[in-house]
């Protein structure tokens, strides 16, 4: 994007980047450093040896996959509709959706729980998946709509003239072109559902239903927090997200590079 003539300029820019990135590293370094205090690597062993350790990950994974799938498809569809299709009073619907973004999570607890009980999904993973998806769709739609706005209408018109139906337009034009945004959606929804804490705590109280965000709680006692072990558990819990991001990041860049091929 920017031309940098010569190694000196590239090195200079790299040096600036290093300085800018230091504030990001300090807390992360502190976290990992603290997780090795006290008993050192045994803190990690203690976390790994928690009974049912893998159950936490399994539950979080199931919730994340379901939430992502729901959000991805519903967001793409909704952005397509809002941006490229004809809807009477579409802005009203759009703003109603945005209104749903505004409630603090704690306010949602009691009504969500009531709703889960009444619809019979109480106590299952769906009681968490549905609210999590519902809370994120407005956000992802807001972003994706802007993105899709930037895809020229003419592409769709050309396809329509060529006889492609709406469904075809969606699958063959929108979804591929919106791939970078789609990757971003996947990453963001993954993070929010992986980190969800209050909702699973209240809605999934059963044995074997814990999620990974509750893993560090095992090391918090009433009067003492075993900080190093808490952070060891937290680091382990965060690793999958970070790894997923790192992997998806390459995909995401490839998606963008493909968009620029002539």
């Amino acid at each position: 994007m920017f031309e940098l003539r010569g190694r000196r300029k590239r090195l200079l820019l790299t040096g600036i980047s290093v300085l800018l990135v230091i504030p990001f590293i300090v807390p992360l370094y502190t976290m990992v450093y603290t997780s090795f205090q006290g008993r050192g690597i045994d803190n990690y062993k203690a976390a790994l040896q928690l009974p049912g350790f893998w159950t936490y990950f399994r539950n979080s994974l199931l919730i994340a996959v379901a939430t992502i799938a729901i959000c991805y498809f519903l967001t793409m569809a909704a952005s397509f509709g809002f941006s490229k299709l004809r809807i009477r009073s579409k802005e009203v619907y759009f703003w109603l959706m945005m209104g749903a973004l505004t409630m603090p999570e704690v306010v949602l607890l009691t009504p969500m729980l009531m709703m889960a009980q009444k619809t019979g999904i109480g106590g299952t993973l769906w009681s968490v998946i549905i609210p999590l998806a519902a809370m994120q769709i407005p956000f992802t739609t807001l972003l994706t709509r802007s993105y899709v706005d930037g895809i020229p209408d003419s592409l769709f018109e050309a396809a329509r003239i060529d006889g492609a139906g709406t469904w075809r337009q969606f699958w063959s034009i929108l979804v591929p072109l919106a791939k970078p945004m789609g990757m971003a959606i996947i990453v963001l929804v993954l993070i929010n559902s992986w980190n969800a804490y209050l909702l699973p705590l209240v809605l999934l109280p059963g044995e074997g239903q814990q999620v990974v965000s509750q893993l560090p709680m095992n090391f918090k006692a009433r009067y003492t927090d075993d900080q190093p072990k808490v952070l060891a558990g937290a680091t382990l819990a965060a690793l999958p997200e970070i790894i997923a991001y790192v992997c998806l990041q390459k995909q995401f860049e490839r998606g963008m590079a493909a968009g620029a091929i002539k």
């Binding site: 006290g38 209050l198 705590l201 209240v202 044995e207 009067y223 003492t224 075993d226």
Partner: protein, 427 residues
């Protein structure tokens, strides 16, 4: 149901609470199952601050636990908050223990857990506070006798020695909404004018009167004199201030009877490791009375009450099994022995812990002191949280934060605000 009937009951019970810790709770359940193997009990522990939202939501949706904790007061588990969800246990207690059942518990505990005539929970154990714990090893290293700290000046002289040696004196964490820093202020109030604080809780006195102001001045003085560190309002009592004490970086901390559990060598080592120390050495910790801060000859007394009790949900579908569990843990010698051996709670059913086998760091020295502490605790005449409304508790926390974080804020303004935000106890 009576104790005889209990043997034939079977079922499953779900217990939600913020205390005890999961491992301790599971030990108690294991002991229970040796006597009643046909009742499964599942314990789910919550952080203090997660407990109210989780419990409210669950009860509201009809999916609450069978057994939960209710305390005399406070904003986490106070009677006022949860009485509507609990069933009256007096009939069950009478069937189990006979008509004299109330007197089998420590004085006053049952009344503290009664709300509008209904016994909403039965006491599991008690608590007392308004005294301090010290690290005897650090005191010995400076040649100070902990029991010699009788006045403010004694305290200051000791603290000067500690500071010179690079040790913090009185570690306090005033950040967050727990009331420990406010409790220090309460202790000082009791040395300024005994009885003032208790009267103000009920609205008979005001929070902006002279004793409150003088106590605030003393507390501020403690910070200026370096007894309390400058970062008191940046750190929380748990885990930061607690970690300071456990890592032997501080000599004094204001905690209550529950702190005795850390005098056990194994717990202490775990806590020190949790504080980041590798290969920690256990030290000897003992309680001492709070000093007479105001110098008027009033040593602050212990304040104590039931710490919490077990309640049974009014809409529970497992009341019989839940009753067996609750009665065994609160009202039998075997159950209370299991509870008391954690030396976290003051015994409420008259059962002594098995002191010799607990693993204290220096049993010969510590056991008599701890026994005396529990006895004094059981005889406390003033309650701790029972008469504190949540609004008053919050107002005091905020006031102390203002006092310790802003040296330019006038004490008159602080106490005036505290008075405006408080609500008297009417229960």
């Amino acid at each position: 149901m009576t104790q005889e009937d209990a043997a034939s009951i079977s079922g499953s019970v779900l217990w939600w609470a913020y205390a005890p810790d999961t491992t301790v709770g599971e030990k108690w359940i294991a002991a229970f199952n040796e006597v009643y193997p046909n009742i499964q009990v599942t314990y789910k522990n919550f952080e203090n601050t997660d407990y109210p939202p989780a419990l409210t939501s669950a009860f509201q949706a009809g999916s609450g636990p069978d057994v939960f904790n209710i305390a005399p007061g406070g904003s986490i588990a106070g009677r006022e908050l949860w009485a509507d969800y609990a069933m009256d246990l007096s009939a069950q207690a009478e069937a189990w223990l006979g008509s004299d059942w109330k007197n089998k518990y420590a004085t006053g505990y049952v009344d503290q857990l009664t709300w509008k005539g209904s016994v909403v929970s039965l006491p599991l154990g008690g608590v007392a506070s308004d005294f301090v714990w010290v690290n005897k090893n650090l005191f010995d290293a400076q040649g100070i006798d902990p029991l010699s700290l009788k006045t403010y000046d004694d305290l200051k002289a000791a603290c000067d020695k500690f500071s010179a040696a690079g040790i913090q004196c009185w570690t306090m964490g005033a950040n967050g909404m727990d009331g420990f820093a406010a409790e220090t202020w309460r202790t000082i109030c009791d040395s300024v004018e005994p009885g003032y604080y208790a009267a103000a809780l009920k609205g008979e006195r005001q929070w902006d009167e002279a004793p409150a102001i003088e106590a605030m001045q003393i507390l501020r003085q403690m910070q200026t004199d370096g007894i309390i560190s400058a970062d008191a309002t940046s750190i929380k009592q748990y885990p930061e201030a607690n970690n300071n004490f456990m890592a032997q970086k501080a000599a004094i901390v204001q905690m209550g009877t529950w702190y005795a559990q850390y005098a056990v060598a194994e717990s202490q080592i775990e806590s020190a490791e949790g504080a980041g120390v590798s290969n920690p050495e256990p030290f000897v910790m003992i309680p001492i009375p709070a000093p007479d801060f105001a110098g008027k000859g009033n040593v602050p007394p212990y304040v104590g009450e039931a710490d919490y009790g077990l309640a049974i949900a009014a809409d529970s579908k497992n009341k019989a099994a839940a009753s067996v569990f609750v009665m065994w843990l609160t009202s039998t010698e075997a159950g209370q022995l299991a509870v008391d051996n954690a030396i976290d709670l003051v015994p409420s059913f008259g059962v002594d812990p098995d002191w010799e086998n607990l693993g204290l760091v220096d049993p010969d020295y510590q056991i008599p002191i701890f026994q005396e502490m529990f006895q004094t605790a059981a005889q406390a005449t003033e309650s701790r949280n029972e008469k504190q409304t949540p609004a008053t508790a919050t107002a005091q926390v905020v006031a102390v934060q203002q006092l310790l974080s802003d040296p330019n804020m006038s004490i008159e303004d602080i106490v005036a605000q505290m008075q405006a935000d408080s609500e008297p106890y009417t229960g």
